[in-house]
């Protein structure tokens, strides 16, 4: 098993009660989660049945924003560990009322779940909710703030392919402004010693982005030069009012990833995308489907393993227990 650390798995060593973001996690915390996830990748591939690590525990998925892949991934992760998983989707009309968020939190808290997995359209909303509950909370994406499990699964994908994170040159391209994935990835990659570049038109970059410890490029070929990893982001048109870019045609011409732009990156550069992809908008179909270079499907697989690790660590830490899975192995 390609575990990177010699330290035995100990969820009590994880210093946080909730996983609200990557910012504030140490290299050790991140490695703890990645190492555990790494073990689950192998287990998921080899073992058919369920584990009973979290048997009798309840995981609630609380999604205030629509989601298919993240919610399914968490659901599968929870079930693989033997927990009961409940999906609550909150209708988009009622989330406009802010009381709903606190009230929903109070209501669910009274049902004593062990973990709440929360996605919300407003930055900081998951933190607000976490202050009102007794269980552990995992941020499954809050506004344009953070999406920690996505960054962890991206890191796991990279680490398994490249053997390390430290010293890699990573380009994150596209709609950085609206992207929680970008923020979580920037924090994680910086913490683990990778070097991060952002490539986007100025209208899709947040103010003072360079203060996050990254290099900023407006030109794809300049930014992609000698990169080990190319992370493409989805254009989040649903979060855009007007005029972030004039036309899809022009955007694709300058910022869509195709082989012509990719040729300046390292020959073995890995292509990633958090999904869902807009083919022909931010990425060419043939690049996305290039089995040799695209890790896009692998990312989905890593997602389940990473979420298993997160659910397990937070649940067991809160319960102050030792992991049952460890006893068996």
């Amino acid at each position: 098993m390609p575990s990177m650390s010699e330290t035995p798995f100990n969820p009590a060593a994880f210093p946080k009660r909730h996983l609200l973001g990557i910012e504030g996690l140490s290299p050790l915390d991140i490695t703890l989660l990645l190492d555990r996830a790494d073990e689950y990748v192998e287990l998921n591939r080899s073992v058919g049945g369920k584990l009973d690590t979290l048997a009798g525990r309840t995981v609630m998925n609380l999604f205030f924003e629509s989601s298919t892949r993240t919610r399914t991934s968490f659901e599968l992760a929870g079930k693989r560990l033997g927990s009961d998983v409940i999906n609550m989707s909150v209708s988009t009309s009622s989330i406009k009322k802010g009381e709903t968020l606190i009230d929903t939190a109070m209501t669910l808290n009274a049902m004593h779940p062990d973990v709440l997995v929360v996605r919300h359209g407003s930055s900081g909303a998951v933190k607000l909710l976490s202050e009102k509950v007794n269980c552990a909370v995992i941020n499954a994406g809050d506004g344009r703030h953070e999406h920690p499990t996505q960054a962890l699964l991206d890191a796991l994908t990279i680490r398994r392919r490249k053997g390390r994170l430290d010293g890699l040159q990573v380009a994150i391209c596209g709609d950085i402004l609206h992207s929680r994935v970008a923020r979580s990835n920037i924090h994680l990659l910086n913490t683990m010693g990778a070097r991060v570049r952002l490539i986007a038109p100025k209208t899709l970059l947040p103010a003072q982005a360079e203060r996050l410890g990254v290099e900023v490029f407006y030109d794809m070929k300049a930014g992609l030069r000698d990169c080990d990893i190319v992370m493409m982001l989805r254009l989040q048109t649903e979060r855009m009012k007007t005029n972030f870019f004039p036309t899809v045609r022009e955007y694709y011409h300058f910022y869509g990833l195709d082989y012509a732009k990719l040729e300046v990156a390292k020959p073995d550069a890995l292509i990633m995308h958090p999904g869902p992809m807009n083919r022909g908008v931010e990425i060419a179909s043939d690049v996305a489907d290039d089995i040799g270079r695209s890790a896009i499907r692998e990312q989905v697989e890593m997602g389940v393993a990473v979420r298993m690790a997160c659910l397990e660590v937070l649940t067991l830490k809160l319960a102050g227990e030792q992991p049952k899975a460890e006893d068996k192995s």
Binding site: E99, G124, R144
Partner: protein, 436 residues
């Protein structure tokens, strides 16, 4: 603490107080033979040796214990939530505010003479702070058609503003300045270009980027200030910018004053006492409009207070219920309480050596009163007996428990401060007494 008193009668002598009056520069040490003598609701006389020849026989004597006695505070920008004049009055007098000017974004909007009169009546009935209203510049604060100005002014509207909204349309702003100048009236602008600030919830910059919140660039403020200075010059109108929050704004206003343009401005305590980091982990009590800016701007605001570019300090008192603040940051309401911390936060400028005590008091008494032509903010024979007794040194901590307001949304929550109002006297009635 809050005291309901009938109309003041007879002579009252306030002795043993350090007398402070920014208007006359009076700063006389406390002694038993000096002070303030009131008769009913008026001041008879003020002086360090007022009672040297003896006390009037029938006067009630109030010993101020060597503390400071100054004009009641004049707060030129507050909001009244709903029609809660009672609660506003309680906040005001416990903070030492004896005269407050309320924004026209009440329910109903103050865009008509009858509403001006209603506000004056409601405030008189509550019987605590004296409230003067601003009139709306445009009907319904909608930024389109000019509202009446001359008649509301005759009924008591002291100046005109669209409250928390900027007049975005350039032509409308030019006409407002021009029309108001017909009557010599002042236009008060909330300087924020709305389309540039659209969806913004805090200052644009690194903190907003980290928190994933949409920023409001300082340029939203600068663009309106630059534009309106042009319009003031063009129309000859009298222009005032409310709560300026950036150093660049002050550079523009300073230069315009030097060119002789008829412009003034104020700021609010959060902009010289806090910066954007107060937003921290999505603290909605620090969500204000304009947003808290960066540290360099905070320092520039202090410099503007010192060099006189900023004419006054207003509290920007904006009570908000818990329901509108306990929300995700982007959805939470703007605004913070201000009146109960106005004196203490302003005194930080004195304790930190930026301003003299008289200059600091001038910014919250004499200056706003003069800007709006209010008969307030001074200790003068014949004037209304509106004054406060305060301890400039007494320490306390701003917290839910220490605030009299029903709403508790102070951006200074948890801050240790120095300076406490001990007594508030309005029209000769002691409406607040910390020891009572």
């Amino acid at each position: 603490m809050i005291q309901r008193q009938p109309e003041a009668q007879g002579l009252v002598a306030y002795i043993n107080a350090r007398l402070l009056d920014p208007t006359t520069g009076l700063d006389a040490p406390a002694n038993l033979t000096g002070g303030v003598l009131t008769n009913g609701e008026y001041i008879v006389d003020v002086g360090a040796e007022l009672f040297k020849v003896g006390m009037p026989e029938d006067a009630t004597i109030i010993n101020c214990g060597g503390q400071n006695l100054a004009p009641g505070l004049v707060d030129m920008r507050i909001q009244i939530s709903g029609r809660d004049f009672e609660n506003v009055g309680i906040s005001a007098v416990s903070g030492g505010v004896t005269t407050a000017v309320c924004l026209p974004n009440t329910t109903p909007v103050i865009d008509d003479r009858s509403v001006v009169e209603f506000v004056a009546r409601a405030a008189r009935k509550a019987g605590l702070v004296k409230i003067y209203p601003y009139g709306a510049i445009t009907k319904g604060l909608e930024g389109q058609e000019l509202a009446e100005m001359g008649m509301p002014n005759n009924s008591g509207a002291v100046a005109f503003t669209d409250a928390t909204r900027a007049i975005a349309n350039t032509r409308t702003m030019a006409q407002a300045l021009s029309y108001a100048s017909t009557f010599g009236l002042m236009i008060v602008q909330h300087p924020e270009e709305p389309s540039l600030a659209e969806e913004g919830v805090m200052n644009e910059g690194e903190t907003a980027t980290r928190l994933g919140l949409t920023g409001i660039p300082i340029e939203a403020e600068l663009i309106i200030i630059e534009r309106d200075l042009r319009l003031a010059q063009m129309t000859g109108g009298r222009l005032h910018f409310a709560h300026v929050s950036t150093g660049e704004s002050l550079n523009l206003i300073r230069a315009a004053k030097d060119r002789g343009i008829s412009v003034t401005c104020d700021t609010a305590p959060p902009y010289f006492a806090l910066n954007e980091t107060a937003v921290g982990d999505y603290r909605t009590f620090a969500k204000l409009s304009p947003p808290l800016r960066c540290e360099a701007d905070r320092k520039a605001i202090i410099a503007g207070l010192k060099d006189g570019t900023i004419d006054a300090i207003a509290s920007d008192h904006t009570p908000k219920s818990e329901d509108t603040k306990r929300l995700p940051f982007a959805d939470a309401a703007d605004g913070g309480l201000g009146m109960e911390t106005l004196l203490a936060i302003t005194l930080e400028l004195v304790h930190n050596g930026h301003l003299s005590l008289l200059d600091a008091l001038g910014l919250i008494t004499q200056h706003p009163a003069e800007l709006l032509g209010l008969p307030a903010g001074r200790l003068k024979a014949g004037a209304a007996a509106d004054f406060i007794v305060f301890d400039a040194e007494r320490g306390w901590k701003v917290s839910e428990n220490n605030l009299h307001s029903k709403a508790k949304n102070t951006p200074f929550d948890g801050r240790p401060v120095q300076g406490r109002v001990l007594k508030t006297v309005i029209d000769g009635r002691m409406v607040f007494d910390v020891d009572a």
